[in-house]
């Protein structure tokens, strides 16, 4: 694959290389280089001798792999199941999907045209099995299409290399005089089995032949589960703004969800750009929902975040995560709809402010005050630990606790006077101490214990004050005082 921006003219031989033990080795070639006799696996110094005007560049194998993965997702515009095949192949399971593009011939032409726009030169083939498609795409005619009955005769004249075998096996077959797939197929199965029965798949011509002929199943394991619920709209011309199409997409999606008895928890809106990229927006809901208006509102402020590039011509709305949602008959006074309203409120807040800004506290089993409550994502259903609070706890907590300066210390009990936020406070009454020891199974070894006091100052404010550590407990200097919260 040639990197964009520095594309050389077609008639200049270009090779991509990577470093090997004995210097640079050719990894891929363009057509001009192939015609000049370059082959992948050859050493660059040798090839330079043959073709002095050769242009050499480093191969970006990891980048190519990422691009191929992206391309496999982009290819889902034709069918739901796609998977990458090796370093340079894509397998699309188009069974039952070709009529959407107007038949197999039209679909191949459309694929070639769209890939050519992205600067790729595809070799396409349609066959009933993975193995046959692999062989036809690389060794067959241009845009070959074969159906199930023709597999054997279509593959027969092709080289044995079309069976996805490794080099040693190919050499062996050549020495045995089995140069084509047809010749291999004519060998009695018993003799083949006797010779190759214990070999692994990539050096076993019998198994590879079975795969190509469809006698051995080779399913397309798509990278993610097949989307169940999806609504899409194809556009005659590329556009930049999907807003106008959203209500219809949502309505169509909700109708499908209704038919399945499902509600969606996560939605993704994908636009397929004309330059071969996809851009996706996701939204989540706190409870399964199939309310078209509500789902539509989840994308309200997000649509400007979608990157339209030079426009897109296909929009899909997919329910990524779905959960069962049955039709429930509510009471006549609509009493059961409370839960729905609350989750929809959470959805709207999360969509606008993000999950970091919207939180729900749940109780945890911990003595340490800041750990007694845990802030969770409101979209997650978390169960609160039913804490039996015996001691009185403040109604507000400062996070983190603020250190105070003690003006007038008293040996036992809280300081008689302290300064907090530049104001002097005199302690008139106090309750305590309540000692809270560090949790040794979580804290660092030298964490100090805390003595909490509920104090009231001269103005009537009730604060939660604590002293960290004791005098001469061997864990630092003098104990420090902090304000941790406010009582009502």
């Amino acid at each position: 694959m040639e990197r964009a921006g520095t594309r050389p003219p077609n008639d200049v031989p270009v090779v991509l290389v990577n470093e090997a033990a004995n210097g640079q080795v050719i990894y891929a070639t363009n057509r001009a280089a192939r015609l000049a006799g370059m082959a992948s696996g050859a050493r660059v110094v040798d090839m330079r001798a043959i073709c002095p005007e050769l242009r050499v560049d480093y191969a970006d194998i990891a980048g190519d792999r990422v691009a191929l993965n992206r391309l496999s997702l982009w290819a889902r515009r034709w069918c739901p199941w796609t998977v990458t095949d090796g370093e340079n192949g894509l397998i699309l399971d188009t069974t039952g999907a070709d009529h959407l593009a107007g038949g197999e011939v039209t679909m191949l032409a459309e694929m070639e045209a769209l890939l050519a726009v992205s600067g790729l030169t595809p070799q396409l083939a349609i066959a009933p099995t993975w193995g046959a498609a692999w062989a036809l795409a690389r060794y067959g005619t241009v845009r070959a299409i074969c159906n199930y009955e023709q597999v054997a005769e279509t593959l027969a004249p092709l080289s044995a290399a079309a069976l996805r075998l490794d080099g040693a096996t190919l050499l062996l077959l050549r020495r045995l005089g089995l140069k084509t797939i047809g010749a291999l197929a004519d060998v009695p199965r018993l003799s083949m089995a006797r010779r190759f029965a214990r070999d692994a798949l990539e050096c076993n011509p019998m198994l590879r032949l079975d795969q190509a002929m469809g006698r051995l199943a080779e399913p397309v394991a798509s990278v993610e589960e097949r989307p169940w619920i999806i609504a899409q709209v194809r556009l005659p011309d590329p556009i930049q703004d999907p807003t106008a199409y959203l209500p219809d997409l949502c309505a169509s999606l909700c109708a499908q969800l209704m038919a399945e008895g499902k509600g969606c928890r996560r939605l993704s809106l994908t636009v397929y750009r004309t330059d071969g990229e996809v851009s996706t927006l996701t939204a989540a809901t706190a409870a399964p929902s199939r309310d078209a208006k509500h789902l539509r509102s989840l994308f309200d402020d997000k649509l400007d975040k979608i990157n339209p590039g030079f426009g897109f011509d296909l929009i899909t709305l997919e329910a990524v995560l779905i959960e069962p949602l049955q039709i429930v008959q509510h009471c006549l006074d609509r009493a059961g709809e409370d839960e729905v309203e609350l989750t929809q409120l959470i959805d709207r807040l999360v969509v606008r402010f993000g999950t970091a800004a919207v939180k729900r506290p749940v109780s945890k089993a911990s003595h340490i005050p800041e750990r007694a409550e845990h802030w969770v994502n409101p979209l997650i259903i978390a169960h609160s630990y039913a804490a039996a609070t015996i001691k009185e706890r403040p109604i507000r907590l400062l996070d983190p606790a603020e250190e105070v300066r003690v003006l007038y210390a008293v040996p036992e009990g809280p300081p008689a006077q302290f300064m907090w936020r530049k104001q002097t406070r005199r302690v008139t009454r106090y309750a305590g101490p309540e000692r809270i020891a560090p949790e040794w199974w979580r804290d660092r070894p030298n964490t100090r214990l805390r003595d909490y006091f509920k104090i009231e100052d001269q103005a009537g404010q009730r604060l939660w004050l604590y002293r960290e550590g004791l005098h001469e407990d061997g864990r630092g200097g003098d104990p420090r005082w902090f304000v941790h919260g406010m009582f009502a």
Partner: protein
Amino acid sequence: MSGLLLKKRISRPASPSVQQKLVLSEAFVTTATDAGVVGFILAGLQDRVAPILWVQDYLSQKESGRPYLPGIGAMRPIIQVTVSRPLDVLWAMEEGLRCKTLACVVGELWGDPKALNFTATKRLALRSEAAGTPCWLLRRSASADLSAARERWRLSSLPSALHPQDAQAPGDPRWKAELFRSRSGSAGTWVAQYDRSSDRIDLSPALRDGAVGEGDGTRRHAAAQ
């Protein structure tokens, strides 16, 4: 589940309906770190289990802390929203008031933001009345400028009541509640005392006799009494 019992020892005929009506109320907190106002609001809520939407701007949270679940009561779900812009606080409150299942919507705003004008408060008030959900706007370090709030309070903590067992310790909280503007009743100043064990709030007229009322309630004063 027991509802809130209101025992009013108020001599005026037109008494304020402490959170009985579902309206927008505005509470001005005289000291930023004073959590008395939070106690006053929570004590007055009718619904003990419904969730509360609590919207804070960032500065309010830094200056006056965040709601603490063990102190409020673990049974009550809280949805906490922390945003930086006052406009977002108002937006979140309005969204909350579209939902009829909340026990209360509380918004905390620091200072006098431009976004909080008469129109904004009017919107909140109308939404609150339409939804039947009480709405509280807590203002800290703010001036009481033009507002459509149906009730406007000025709240501060008072020295607490005597602790029944321990004279050294602070007892039930007491607050000074000054209703300086009300659409339904007449204004006035009360001392509110919250009895945690029986979950009820007592309102009594502010004491005119300063000798007892202004003391800090320590043993010294109790003895003088």
